[in-house]
């Protein structure tokens, strides 16, 4: 209050610094996005034709629903795997936590193509996974070319985005509360359900939204490990552009993805802070 306030002028001038980045993004990012969205309603003739085609075409609709379903499954599995892991991270000592953090960041460290190649090798016919299952008597488990194969690979790469916000929220929970609940007569499962789980919800919400959003847009992993017969939206967008140069159709599908993304973001913005914070740990666009 009484400390010397910054002089007015440099602040007034500072917003020009935003201009170059804004200009480049406008030309190379927002203009292209606007263009493809515009084309989705303006071509071949003006109207909602492309959108009606998406919603009216059983195949396209199934693709959208399959994508949502896959993203949901990936999100749920990632949460189930990540929650105990994050919980364990808050219990162990400093050095063990360092190791667990390093492990969870592994997917960032391994390049996208290297990782997908590795999953290709693991999941292929006669690969390590199939042989491992065969060894315990279950034969014919070939994940390559199935939604399951895509899911496994995507869960792995999504883990950091789930573990980090979870751990963040859990570190803020006072464990004394659990003891307090115990002393008030709550058995451990009750204490967990009524105290710990609700308190960790901000982390759950932020992790779930980030993973869900990112899972919707994956392209490379489904293209390599999935199959065209069970295509996801991203693949269909890619195919339409690559094989048919159908930008308006791709734009309509893209708009569907964008809308879902923005809706999830907006919902999250209401219940938690900005997503940017939890998404800045590292990016992965696969």
């Amino acid at each position: 209050m009484t400390a010397i306030r910054p002089a007015g002028k440099p602040r007034a001038r500072a917003h020009w610094l935003l201009l170059p980045a804004a200009a480049v993004l406008l030309v190379v990012f927002f203009y292209p996005l606007a263009t493809i969205l515009w084309r989705s309603i303006a071509e071949p003739e003006f109207g909602p034709g492309n959108y009606l085609a998406v919603l009216g075409d059983a195949v396209a609709l199934r693709v959208v629903l399959r994508t949502l379903g896959t993203a949901l499954i990936i999100t749920a599995v990632t949460l189930l795997i990540a929650y105990p892991y994050a919980y364990a991270m808050t219990l162990v000592g400093r050095r063990a936590r360092g190791l667990l953090t390093l492990l969870v960041l592994m997917p960032f460290w391994t390049s996208l193509m290297a990782r997908n190649f590795a999953w290709y090798v693991l999941e292929q016919r006669g690969g390590v996974i199939e042989r491992a299952f065969a060894a315990i008597g279950i034969h014919g488990v070939t994940l390559l070319g199935s939604v399951a194969g895509v899911t496994v690979a995507m869960v792995q790469v999504m883990l950091p985005f789930m573990v980090l916000p979870l751990q963040n929220a859990m570190l803020g929970i006072d464990r004394g509360l659990l003891h307090a609940a115990g002393s008030l007569g709550a058995p451990r499962p009750t204490a967990f359900l009524r105290i710990y789980l609700p308190l960790s919800m901000p982390g759950v919400l932020s992790g779930v939204s980030v993973v869900f959003i990112m899972s919707l847009g994956f392209y490379i992993t489904p293209a390599l490990l999935g199959t065209p017969q069970q295509a996801l939206v991203a693949q269909v967008i890619g195919t339409r552009v690559n094989d048919l140069l159908d930008f308006p159709g791709a734009g309509a599908l893209g708009a569907v993805l964008l809308v879902i993304t923005l809706v999830v973001l907006a919902l999250l913005g209401r219940v938690a802070g900005p997503v940017g914070a939890s998404m800045t740990g590292g990016g992965d666009r696969g």
Binding site: T2, A3, I4, R5, G8, K9
Partner: protein, 341 residues
């Protein structure tokens, strides 16, 4: 009066921020003599910090002029004004060692290396930090950091040193200690010091003269004793410490400081020629070197008396007393209802 050509002079300085109803600083003219320790005292938002900021060159003036030794500086960039500034939050450069922080102003002035080394040694010696030359700011305590900041601001012998609430971030014990060190530095360097604070004790302890700021104007300017004993306004009287403020005549308030009153159990012991008023004791606080007796006068006004240690008294909350003082210890100020305390 000092020769007006030397020292810092401000003439009708005004700072008005667009959109605010009254100017942050309103038509302030002031002369700070060469070598003087001047303090700007006032509550937050009174304009004292804005005033310092304009002298330092961080805030442009809306009107008026500022001269240093007769040279107009109000349009110069901060780095051309040759002033030293100490900030509340130290503002040490975290990537530079203590020695390089202190040397910054000297290297900027392209002084020879040998001189820089010598001077850095001298000022660090002066603030008692010769042992930490190669440390980094983050390795120092708050008090040490502020000492480094002081050393850095005087190392290049600027025309004057401006201190913006330099002790506000420190705890009480450190604050007292640094107060003494700042007073010592002022004596040793003979430099003009301009000190900004909202702490009246700090101002009274350190300053040659104090300018009390209120609502963008200088309410009163004078030596600590003048301001304390002879406040010109109710605001100054109340801002500088406790007082017995009595409304004896309409439109006027009579101020008597707690140290200037005596308490009596009856009127017999009151010397002739003294003013007297009866009051009720509301609280007795023992502070070690003195006791504070809180009073309520018949008209509801509150007051206070200070009794030195060793004075035995039997005042208890609820007891009736006669408060007496010598008329020459009164200060009469215009009444201003609703002034901030």
């Amino acid at each position: 009066m000092t020769e007006p050509m030397t020292g810092i002079a401000t003439t009708q300085v005004t700072k008005a921020y667009p959109g605010s109803e009254r100017p942050a600083v309103d038509d302030v003219s002031l002369h700070i003599a060469d070598g003087e320790f001047m303090t700007f005292l006032g509550p937050s938002g009174s304009g004292k910090t804005t005033m310092l900021s304009m002298i330092a060159g961080f805030t442009p003036l809306s009107a008026g002029s500022i001269t240093v030794d007769g040279r107009e500086i109000s349009r110069l960039k901060p780095h051309r004004r040759d002033l030293g500034v100490v900030f509340q939050q130290y503002a040490l450069f975290p990537h530079l060692s203590v020695a390089r922080n202190v040397a910054f102003g000297l290297t900027q002035r392209k002084r020879p290396k040998a001189e820089i080394d010598r001077r850095v040694g001298e000022v660090l010696e002066m603030v008692g930090l010769s042992g930490v030359r190669e440390r980094f700011p983050r390795q120092l305590s708050g008090g040490q950091q502020q000492r480094v900041a002081l050393a850095r601001a005087v190392a290049y012998e600027p025309r004057a040193l401006l201190l913006d609430e330099p002790l506000a971030a420190l705890d009480k014990r450190l604050r007292d200690q640094l107060q003494r060190e700042i007073a010592h530095m002022h004596r040793e360097l003979g430099m003009t010091f301009l000190f900004v604070t909202h702490d009246q004790q700090e101002a009274l302890t350190l300053s040659d003269r104090i300018a009390v700021f209120n609502e963008g104007r200088i309410e009163q300017l004078g030596t600590p004793a003048e301001l304390y004993e002879r406040p010109g306004t109710l605001f100054v009287a109340q801002f500088l410490g406790e007082s017995n403020a009595l409304r004896l005549r309409p439109g006027e308030v009579t101020i008597v400081r707690p140290e200037r009153v005596t308490l009596h159990t009856g009127t017999e012991s009151v010397a002739a020629g003294q003013q007297r008023r009866s009051a009720t004791v509301t609280d007795v606080v023992y502070v070690g070197d003195h006791s504070r007796i809180w009073l309520r006068y018949a008209d509801g006004a509150r007051g206070c008396a200070v009794l030195g240690a060793g004075t035995t008294h039997e005042h208890r909350p609820g007891s009736e007393v006669v408060v007496a003082w010598h008329p020459e210890h009164e200060a009469v100020v215009p009444d201003a209802e609703g002034n901030p305390k």
